[in-house]
């Protein structure tokens, strides 16, 4: 670690916050010079200014610019209307990516919610609950790149007859099945990639579901049991309906992630063998093909797919604010 790098780090970690705090202190001194009635009108804007600036430069402006770019030609000069959209939607590879994103959307969201719910409900009934939850939640801390290496090793494939070092194919061998090239075989590869994401995210769903589960009053469950309800009935008729709002919130997070899926596919298959997804395809158009027009059109399609979730989030928040 050279001295330049250390100076650089210290500068960023100490000087930047110091400068930001100085910004607040100095501007407030300025505000106090104003007449007392004007002060509260000016002050809030100075406090939100750094954030709004960053959000404008890195989120709002680029989103608008990308939408605009998607209507221009490859050189970014001439307006071409919807031509880019026609081009990408006429591309067989893009259609496969859209299909795969739908696989992700349905398979990943459903599996994470179901596993999270099952684990939360089961773990709630044992004394070693916190150990189980820690272990299941742990993959959330690591990168998708690391998760891809972990699972690449699980899915490792050798031709029949050779020793299978991949855990899944070794298990198949044990039951006299022939080994499967999980990541290449068209019947299994999308499911295999989705499984990696499910492995990572189940802990997230489990922890939140578990917190909501502990908020259900015990008397309610007891009353149902006294009335002769079986555990299954209690689960279906009481626990599930009461957890529904929480599961919906988790679901929206998962849907957004499913649509943005990138890292796992990039590392494990590079989108080959019919496993590509929209986010990776967009990156490839931008980075490999240097076609910003098509890349922008793909990004906008991705945004359009997310808009319903976005609207749902905003409306839910407005409702929460209203009942506050």
């Amino acid at each position: 670690m050279d001295i330049v790098r250390i100076t650089f780090l210290v500068g960023a970690v100490v000087l930047v916050p110091a400068a930001l705090i100085a910004y607040v202190l100095v501007t407030d001194l300025g505000v106090r010079l104003l007449p007392p009635r004007t002060q509260p009108r000016i002050r809030p804007w100075l406090w939100i200014l750094p954030s709004m600036l960053a959000v404008t430069v890195f989120l709002i402006y680029p989103t608008i610019a990308t939408i605009w770019l998607s209507f221009l030609d490859k050189a970014g000069q001439t307006f071409v209307g919807l031509a880019n959209y026609g081009e990408v939607l006429g591309d067989g590879g893009v259609l496969v990516s859209i299909r795969n994103n739908i696989f992700w959307l349905v398979g990943y969201t459903a599996l994470v919610l179901v596993f999270g719910l099952i684990l939360a409900v089961l773990a709630d009934r044992v004394p070693y609950e916190s150990a189980v939850k820690s272990l299941i939640f742990m993959p959330m801390a690591i990168s998708f790149v690391a998760a891809s290496v972990i699972w690449g090793f699980m899915f490792a494939y050798q031709p029949p007859g050779a020793p299978q070092t991949g855990t899944l194919n070794a298990l198949l061998n044990l039951f006299h099945g022939s080994p499967i090239a999980w990541l290449i075989d068209h019947r299994t590869n999308n499911a295999a990639l989705i499984l990696v994401a499910v492995w990572v995210w189940t802990g997230f769903a489990m922890v939140i579901t578990s917190a909501a589960l502990k908020g259900i009053p015990e008397e309610l469950l007891e009353a149902a049991r006294v009335d002769g309800a079986t555990e299954l009935t209690v689960f279906r008729r009481i626990i599930i309906p009461l957890l529904a709002p929480t599961l919906t919130v988790i679901g929206t997070t998962l849907v957004i992630f499913a649509l943005k899926a990138f890292d796992i596919v990039y590392v494990m298959t590079s989108g080959n063998y019919n496993t590509n997804v929209m986010a990776l395809r967009m990156y490839q158009e931008m980075n490999n093909n240097h076609n910003n027009a098509r890349a922008s059109a793909l990004a906008v399609l991705l945004l359009l797919a997310i808009v319903p979730v976005l609207v749902f989030n905003v409306r839910r928040l407005r409702f929460q604010e209203a009942i506050r």
């Binding site: 650089f8 780090l9 930001l20 002050r43 402006y61 070092t165 855990t167 997230f204 997070t253």
Partner: protein, 304 residues
């Protein structure tokens, strides 16, 4: 981890159950053997992949290619540190580790500082369009990064920032802010209003109230946010890939390891070691701060 939607607030809503009831519920169900078996099996399925990686990273190459990792668990034990030595010496994993730190620390500190200012203003100051601006931020939570990549890259290229750490810090700041402001506003907005009224009576201005009251009381929220943002920036691949490029001088662990996957292919003795180096710090952060993390989220308003 990429937390993309307002979800943490729900955790805060769920109060812990009283200990007595807890004990009763457990006693009733403990006798059920199938439940315990199912749970232990599921947990085992969850940890086996990580275990396989960890064990393999200490095995010599000739064994990795011919035998399964589970065979390392029975004698003769043959373990080695060579894989780690090789990825550190030959594949610049050490540099990548330092690069990841150089990216993640400022990319955590900067947005949290700015977000704290904004969250305070959104909670306790009155100004026109306050709610609309906040709703805009919530809307931005869901915007996919892909939609920002091209214009931001053009800005960085025009200003000569492409390939520098500064570019990645700024990008992570912009991308992390909506979530940071949302989380902090939920917390700061829930502080009791008498606190601010009595501070005002005592003659404390907004600046004093922020540094003396809001910041100290928000430590749990700031800490859990710091963990979120640190893990998110440490584990990020896309932002580093696009704005830094693949040069080994600046590439973080995620970029370096993903390059190794495509160049080494089946060289699992090295891949597992490299992956484990990239996981070590997040796992330590997670294991050390897990309790604090959960408590930070569930801690409600301050008493007194």
């Amino acid at each position: 981890m990429a937390v993309g939607a307002p979800v943490t607030a729900e955790v805060a809503a769920a109060a812990p159950r009283p200990a007595r009831v807890e004990a009763e519920r457990r006693r009733i169900d403990l006798g059920s053997l199938p439940l315990n078996v199912a749970l232990v099996l599921l947990t085992a399925v969850w940890i086996v992949p990580t275990l396989a990686l960890l064990v393999s990273s200490f095995r010599p190459r000739f064994l990795i290619n011919t035998t399964g990792w589970w065979q390392a668990l029975v004698p003769p034990f043959q373990f080695t540190l060579n894989n780690y030595r090789e990825v550190l010496d030959t594949y610049s994993i050490g540099t990548a580790f330092v690069n990841s730190l150089t990216i993640a620390i400022p990319a955590t500190v900067i947005p949290i500082t700015i977000a704290a200012f904004a969250a305070y203003a959104f909670s306790w100051m009155r100004f026109p369009f306050r709610n609309s601006l906040f709703l805009l931020l919530v809307g931005l939570l869901a915007v996919p990064l892909q939609v920002t990549l091209i214009p931001v890259l053009q800005i960085f290229t025009r200003t000569g920032l492409t390939g520098t750490f500064l570019a990645v810090w700024l990008a992570h700041t912009g991308y992390g802010l909506p979530f940071a402001i949302y989380l902090l506003r939920n917390f700061i907005g829930a502080l009791p209003s008498d606190l601010f009224e009595s501070a005002e009576i005592d003659g404390a201005g907004p600046v004093t109230a922020f540094f003396r009251l809001v910041l100290p009381l928000s430590v749990p929220a700031l800490a859990s946010l710091a963990i979120f943002q640190f893990l998110w920036t440490w584990n990020d691949l896309l932002v580093a890939l696009v704005y830094l490029g693949g040069s080994p001088d600046v590439a973080p662990l995620t970029v370096n390891v993903s390059n190794l996957v495509s160049s080494l292919g089946q060289g699992y003795e090295l891949l597992t070691a490299a992956a484990f180096v990239s996981m070590a710090l997040p796992l330590i952060v997670f294991l050390a701060l897990q309790r604090y993390f959960v408590r930070g989220i569930t801690a409600g308003a301050v008493k007194g």
